[in-house]
């Protein structure tokens, strides 16, 4: 599995895609960070916090779209599946590699809290929990992206599927407040954005952590299942 993580991770960084995504991310987030600079306050504005998650809607689908499509195209799928590695390890390896790229992006974005630390005394604990929320959100998003890329061999289609799914996921709390009733309540409970905002406010909720991690696990599991079914029925 480590072999797959290493290869996929390196592959992201041997083409310009990861660099461009990270560079654009920093550039665009700077536009929102200006709010904090202009107001002269050592904390992330709510605009900044929500834009961070909004950016992920675009970054993750691009990051994950080629996960399985590429192997299908180059025939390396055969290599992976005929090596002494379980399918679940292949999927998990690819998931962790994509997560690794996302973590590099997160690490690059630490320039923002760094500025706050240099020029002020921000509430470190709250900054920490915002980042914890961001990382968890990224892990959830990546699992959905990986899942989408297992559904189709077309990269563009995979990216669109994951974007639409992520967009739906993030609008759960809006949809929930419109729907009301039991379904509204359920959607509210499932809303990652609400959980992310809680983390950003400085609340660390163990159940949210468990929920988000298990959501990611379920989607990685479903991805394994999808690929397995493909093998079983079509070969």
């Amino acid at each position: 599995m480590m072999a797959i993580i290493r290869r996929d991770f390196r592959s992201y960084f041997s083409s310009p895609i990861a660099y461009v995504l990270i560079g654009l991310f920093i550039c665009i987030m700077s536009l929102f960070f200006v709010d904090s600079l202009n107001a002269g306050v050592a904390y992330f504005t709510s605009n900044f916090i929500s834009s961070m998650s909004f950016m992920l809607l675009f970054i993750v689908p691009i990051l994950t779209m080629r996960t399985f499509a590429e192997d299908k195209k180059s025939g390396t799928e055969v290599l992976l599946l005929t090596s002494p590695v379980r399918l679940s390890q292949v999927v998990l390896g690819k998931y962790l590699a994509a997560t690794g790229v996302f973590l590099v992006l997160t690490a690059a974005s630490l320039v923002f809290p760094l500025v706050l630390l240099i020029y002020g005394k921000p509430d470190g604990a709250t900054l920490f929990s915002s980042y914890l929320g961001f990382v968890l959100l990224g892990m959830v998003f990546t699992s959905v992206g990986i899942f989408a890329s297992s559904l189709t061999e077309n990269q563009i289609v995979a990216a669109i599927i994951s974007f639409v799914s992520l967009f739906t996921l993030t609008s759960f709390s809006y949809i929930g407040s419109y729907m009301g009733g039991f379904i509204g309540k359920l959607l509210n409970r499932l809303s990652f954005m609400d959980k992310y905002y809680e983390f950003s406010a400085g609340i660390i909720d163990i159940t949210s952590i468990i929920f988000m991690l298990s959501f990611a696990v379920v989607f990685v599991f479903l991805t394994v299942r999808i690929l397995e079914r493909k093998r079983w029925s079509q070969g």
Binding site: G40, V41, V111, K121, G124, T126, Y197, T207, F211
Partner: protein, 476 residues
């Protein structure tokens, strides 16, 4: 052929096997999350790591809810999905967590969907003017309504500009819980019949009083003061008491009743003989004059807009006069009589400086300060009872008109005065949580520098690295 069938089964078995495993794993994960989500454990698994503990409650509140022997219900008048005040929901959760099951809720009630909820479940008098988004705290028949204003500490600067300086969510809930669970609620009767301010003019003060666990009622002195009255409240009478009214008042005070008198400057000459008859028993006297302040720091724009000196007393000990600015617009002075009475204890509340004058509106004679603008007096009745009064030469500072412009600090003084009268030591004294954000100390220059660094230099370096790596590898 039998053999083929067997193998068919085997491959099928492996397919089913992985499907079952997947189903089981997902079921377990869903189950764990459902259990965690539905049980109250989840509330204990939340940790407020903010520096100021924005979402936590203090020991005083924890002790209060731990010691509850009655159930308190909390209703949030909104659908759960659209209520987004994290601060409130977190704090309510804290009460629930520490409440040993005595704090129940929050129940979300969407008034759009259930418009009769209020009329069906609550005494309309107790929830007057309730709005969507408000919160009801109820214990038995006692009800308290909290609205968003109750959660904000608003300060006023020197020039009267209003801004939110802090959050007092915990304070509001703790006093609400305290109030609805209290065995006995002190009752304040607002006296009318002599041109006093109407309750509509004093709604902010009244809500502050309710918030501090006082029941508010109305009466006139033409009838004897009701038995349940603890305090009589006179919001600036403009004419004197009749003889029978004086008798009713004195009877009330003699049985240990307390009273708060506030008098604005009068435009017409009014002799308040009967009132002064009462005050003189307490060694106090209300003067018919207008005080002007000339000490720079003690007035706002106009000399009659006095920022009074606040004397240290039982009433003001728990307040911080430096923070709690008040202005007394157009005040009259209070004199302390020197008659020697053993059973009396007089203490000043507000005053003007040496650099002030008082013009007698009757005679036009001007006298020099300092003057008292408010005073407290306590009369011992026998060995175990006492009657306390407060006399303040201004009433404008507690009206809605004033408060909406210059802040509601006046009601803090009134509440503190009433608490002193009712000997309430159990005051809710939870400091508001500061909203001050840590500042960023940057010069304009470094701001521009950092901005360019973030928006252009760093991204370009990253993308440049990518292109370099890519081009170099491309030709390998």
């Amino acid at each position: 052929m039998k053999k083929t069938g067997l193998f068919k089964k085997k491959s099928f078995r492996y397919g089913t096997y992985s499907f079952v495993i997947t189903a089981v794993v997902i079921a377990i994960i869903v189950l764990i999350n459902t259990i965690l989500g539905l049980s109250d454990i989840s509330k204990r698994l939340r940790f407020d790591i903010t520096q100021d503990k924005m979402f936590s409650i203090g020991q005083q509140s924890i002790d209060l809810v731990k010691g509850l022997d009655k159930e308190v219900e909390i209703y949030i008048l909104s659908s759960e999905s659209s209520y987004s005040n994290l601060l409130v929901t977190e704090v309510v959760d804290q009460y629930v967590v520490h409440g040993n099951g005595r704090i129940i809720g929050p129940h979300y009630v969407d008034l759009d969907k259930d418009p009769t909820f209020i009329s069906k479940n609550f005494d309309p008098d107790q929830v007057k003017g309730i709005n969507s988004g408000d919160i009801i705290v109820r214990c038995g028949n006692n009800t308290r309504v909290l609205s968003n204003q109750d959660f904000m500490e608003i300060s006023y600067d020197y020039y009267g500009g209003a801004y939110v300086t802090g959050l007092k969510v915990e304070q509001a809930f703790t006093s609400a819980i305290k109030s609805v669970t209290a065995e006995k609620i002190n009752t304040i009767y607002f006296v009318s019949g002599h041109g006093e301010y109407k309750s509509d003019d004093l709604s902010q003060l009244r809500s502050a009083l309710s918030l501090n666990n006082y029941a508010l009622k109305e009466t006139t002195l033409t009838v004897p003061v009701p038995e349940d009255a603890d305090v009589l409240f006179f919001p600036s009478p403009t004419s004197d008491l009749l003889g029978s009214e004086l008798e009713n008042l004195l009877a009330f005070l003699e049985r240990g009743g307390d009273a708060v008198f506030l008098f604005d400057v009068q435009s017409t000459i009014q002799d308040l003989t009967n009132f002064n008859e009462v005050f003189s028993r307490y060694n106090l006297q209300l003067n018919y004059d207008l005080v002007n302040e000339f000490s720079q720091a003690n007035y706002l724009k106009e000399n009659w807009m006095i920022r009074p000196m606040v004397y240290m007393s039982d009433v003001t000990r728990n307040l911080n006069p430096d923070q709690l600015f008040i202005y007394l617009p157009m005040s009259r002075s209070i004199s302390v009589l020197s008659t020697n009475k053993d059973n009396l204890e007089v203490s000043p509340l507000f005053g003007s400086t040496d650099d002030s004058t008082a013009i007698d509106l009757n005679t036009g004679v001007q006298s020099m300060g300092p003057f008292f603008l408010g005073a407290l007096s306590q009369m011992e009745i026998g060995t175990s009872n006492h009657s306390r009064i407060a006399l303040i030469g201004n009433c404008t500072f507690i009206t809605d008109t004033y408060m909406s412009e210059l802040g509601d600090n006046g009601s803090r003084y009134i509440v503190s005065t009433l608490n002193w009268m009712q000997e309430r030591a159990d005051d809710v004294m939870i400091p508001a949580k500061s909203l001050d954000q840590p500042p960023l100390n940057m010069t304009e220059q470094s701001r521009v520098f950092v901005f360019i660094l973030l928006i252009a230099v760093i991204p370009l370096v990253i993308i440049g690295t990518g292109l370099f790596v890519w081009i170099r590898r491309k030709s390998l």
